[in-house]
């Protein structure tokens, strides 16, 4: 019984380590490029790649900016669509671009996340 418990804990640990190591299926390809446009606002552009083994749908890119107090001053969510519609194929690279309304000198922290649904369909 003790041996069983030990192996159970070991397997649990291995699984948890494996889950930690999982690479993001849909991720940024290279860095996001930040530039200041003619109006003096921050403009972002970048590329998203689908590195999963399935087609992904409803890819949403969320970008949150905070001020020096740590309060959220702006949150942007953009839908990232592939060439053929609202899904992104395997290894497909999609460009995205957005502009923030907030004044750049008020921005102190930037965070982003990518949410998506996997359709489970292989190519």
């Amino acid at each position: 019984m003790k041996k069983f418990k030990f192996f159970f804990i070991l397997i649990l640990f291995l699984v948890s380590c494996n889950s930690l190591n999982k690479s993001l299926n849909v991720q940024l390809l290279g860095p996001m490029l930040e530039s200041v446009n003619e109006e003096g606002k921050l403009q972002y552009s970048g590329k998203i790649v689908n590195k999963s083994e399935a087609v992904v749908r409803n890819v949403l890119f969320r970008f949150i900016v905070e001020n020096d107090q740590g309060s959220i001053i702006e949150a942007v969510t953009i839908a990232v669509d592939g060439v053929n519609g609202e899904y992104i194929l395997q290894n497909e690279v999609v460009d995205f671009e957005f502009t923030l309304r907030s004044r750049p000198n008020k921005i102190f922290s930037k965070e982003f996340s990518i949410d998506y649904k996997s359709s489970g369909e292989d190519l």
């Binding site: 070991l10 640990f13 291995l14 948890s16 380590c17 494996n18 930690l20 190591n21 940024l28 390809l29 290279g30 860095p31 996001m32 490029l33 930040e34 530039s35 200041v36 446009n37 003096g40 921050l42 403009q43 552009s45 590329k47 020096d68 750049p104 000198n105 921005i107 102190f108 922290s109 930037k110 982003f112």
Partner: protein, 247 residues
């Protein structure tokens, strides 16, 4: 009280072992973070050189977006950041000195356009450590002493943390088990053995009483059998010890 002391000792031992493993983890993490810092600085230097070239050709063009297009054509932003492998930079920015001086943008630099380590813009403390590294490199145009702008690269330390934990997790687990094992062996080594004092006697009275009863019963059984078998009646009493005689 005895059990509480033992329990506290075990807890203390586990804390010591965990501290040791945690120190090892921090050491591994810092090693990887230093590599990441060096890579970020090198990348910032390369991009700053490219920025110098580009803005010398196209003077009065204050468009970082066009510079990124140029950089993509010349080298390729993906190629540049591929060297990072594990955690590529998340944000790549070009800020011009004029924008910084006018206060249009916060670049996290001091008056000389060098990285200001105290700026909150260059830190992101979460989970009790700074999980962001920012590399800032000023770039100059020819015949100018003051920088034309700065290249700013932001990298997250979280992927490094996760990678160190996932790649060394099994090692940490086995280290924990081995250290516990060693601690137990050490306990066995230093454990005091109880000396058996024969003069005082080493059995409880009740045990001694039961042994006496058993001895008597066994003696009776053997005697019964001896009386039945008259031919072997003289020999067998020799293996019975009468412990009552001692008293």
């Amino acid at each position: 009280m005895y059990f509480l002391k033992r329990f506290l000792l075990i807890v203390l031992l586990q804390v010591v072992i965990f501290s040791f493993i945690f120190t090892l983890f921090i050491f591994n993490f810092n090693q990887r973070r230093e590599v990441n810092k060096t890579q970020s600085k090198a990348l910032a230097t390369v991009i700053a050189e490219q920025a110098t070239k580009y803005f010398e050709i196209s003077k009065n063009n204050f468009s970082s977006k066009e510079f990124f297009s140029y950089l993509d054509k010349q080298i390729g932003v993906d190629k540049l950041t591929n060297a990072f492998n594990l955690n590529p930079p998340e944000l790549l920015t070009i800020y011009f000195r004029s924008d910084i001086e006018k206060g249009y943008v916060n670049a996290g630099t001091d008056d000389n356009l060098k990285k200001d380590d105290n700026s909150s813009l260059n830190k992101s403390t979460k989970y009790f450590f700074n999980n962001k590294y920012v590399a800032i490199k000023p770039f100059f145009l020819k015949n100018s002493d003051s920088p034309f702008g700065v290249v700013r690269i932001e990298t997250s330390n979280i992927p490094i943390l996760v990678d160190v934990l996932s790649s060394n997790g099994i090692f940490y687990l086995f280290l924990f088990l081995i250290l516990n094992n060693q601690a137990f062996l050490f306990y066995l080594w230093i454990r005091k053995k109880k000396d058996v004092v024969l003069d005082k006697g080493y059995l409880k009275e009740s045990s001694l009483g039961s042994i006496k009863i058993m001895h008597k019963l066994l003696g009776d059984v053997i005697e019964d059998h001896n009386s039945q078998d008259s031919s072997e009646s003289k020999a067998p009493k020799n293996n019975i010890l009468n412990i009552d005689k001692k008293k």
